[in-house]
């Protein structure tokens, strides 16, 4: 039994099932990160004092990471565009670059966290660090998850290109939407935690 509108869009909504599915998922993610931002607001406005982000956190490293993630968003959308142009090898290059850049982001975060722990700065030390580690930690898990899905579509999942190129292109697009969202969250996270 085939589920309709998996690959071709439904006429009156103009959408495929996967497209609406991924946007619904992203809506729930907005609320998930939203709760953490709301917690940040509540805790910070209630605190007698609150350190400036740049007095505790490494701004140059995080700026670098911001650039890395934005670049990875470009390579991600270029990966999808390559599929739309039916250039599979170019897709592989761009998707590979996206995964690599994600890996760079994680490596930088590893150094950031290690440096904190070396200076005995833990989530339990104070609420600034608690919310910092929680927000960036959750974000990091999303980066890792996105990388895993991207790696699947770079590797074993790419088989689908041969049998159903339209479906494969759609799935890469949906994965890309998740990846862009992860970038978008960082775009807000970075100034909030590091610069304010």
């Amino acid at each position: 039994m085939d589920i309709p509108y998996t690959v071709e869009a439904r006429r009156d909504t103009g959408l495929t099932n996967g497209k609406i599915g991924i946007w619904l998922f992203l809506a729930s993610e907005v609320m998930l990160f939203g709760a953490l931002f709301a917690s940040y607001i509540l805790i910070r406005t209630g605190a007698p004092s609150w350190p400036r982000g740049d007095t505790i956190l490494n701004v140059p490293l995080a700026t670098f990471n911001t650039i890395v993630l934005i670049l990875s968003s470009v390579t991600m959308v270029m990966a999808w565009a390559s599929l739309m142009r039916r250039r599979f090898e170019t897709y592989r290059i761009y998707m590979g670059a996206t995964i690599l850049l994600g890996f760079v982001f994680l490596v930088v975060k590893y150094f950031e966290y290690s440096a904190k722990f070396e200076h005995h700065l833990y989530p339990s030390t104070n609420n600034f660090l608690a919310i910092y580690f929680t927000l960036t930690g959750l974000h990091m898990l999303h980066v890792a998850g996105g990388m895993a899905v991207n790696a699947y579509f770079w590797g074993p999942g790419a088989k689908l290109w041969k049998t159903n190129p339209e479906w494969f292109t759609n799935r890469v697009e949906h994965s890309g939407l998740f990846w862009h969202f992860v970038d978008l969250v960082w775009i807000f996270l970075f100034p909030t935690l590091y610069l304010l």
Partner: protein, 120 residues
């Protein structure tokens, strides 16, 4: 979105040019936001500027990388509702906990207590 006829190739080329432009804009805005933070503006101003820049950057990612600018009405509807609840979640807890004194000064006969007042 998934059809791949040849007249889409010109479309994609146009999209690619937009992606590069947006990337440059995002880089510039990243530099701007870091530079502004160096000015050590007062907290309310710094927050406003930072959020403004972030919103512009985020909108660029959403509109062009995520193709929101040409998305279907249903998706917009879902997102508008989500944003409404997101705003409620941002604003209502802090307004409620601070007794509203975050938006106006308390009456003169009320001692201003910290926002976590019942517990301190």
């Amino acid at each position: 979105m998934a059809s791949m006829t040849s007249d889409h190739a010109a479309d994609i080329d146009r999209h690619v040019r937009i992606y590069i432009t947006v990337f440059v804009a995002l880089m510039v805005l990243t530099v701007v936001t870091v530079a502004v933070s160096r000015l050590h503006l007062s907290v309310p101003v710094a927050v406003t500027v930072a959020l403004l820049v972030a919103t512009i950057k985020g909108s660029l990612v959403a509109c062009y990388f995520m193709h929101l600018i040409s998305e279907k009405k249903l998706i917009y509807a879902v997102l508008v509702v989500t944003v409404a609840f997101f705003v409620a979640l941002m604003a209502l807890p802090v307004l409620t906990t601070s007794n509203g004194y975050w938006i106006h000064e308390p009456p003169s006969d009320v001692q201003r207590a910290p926002a976590t007042s019942p517990h301190q």
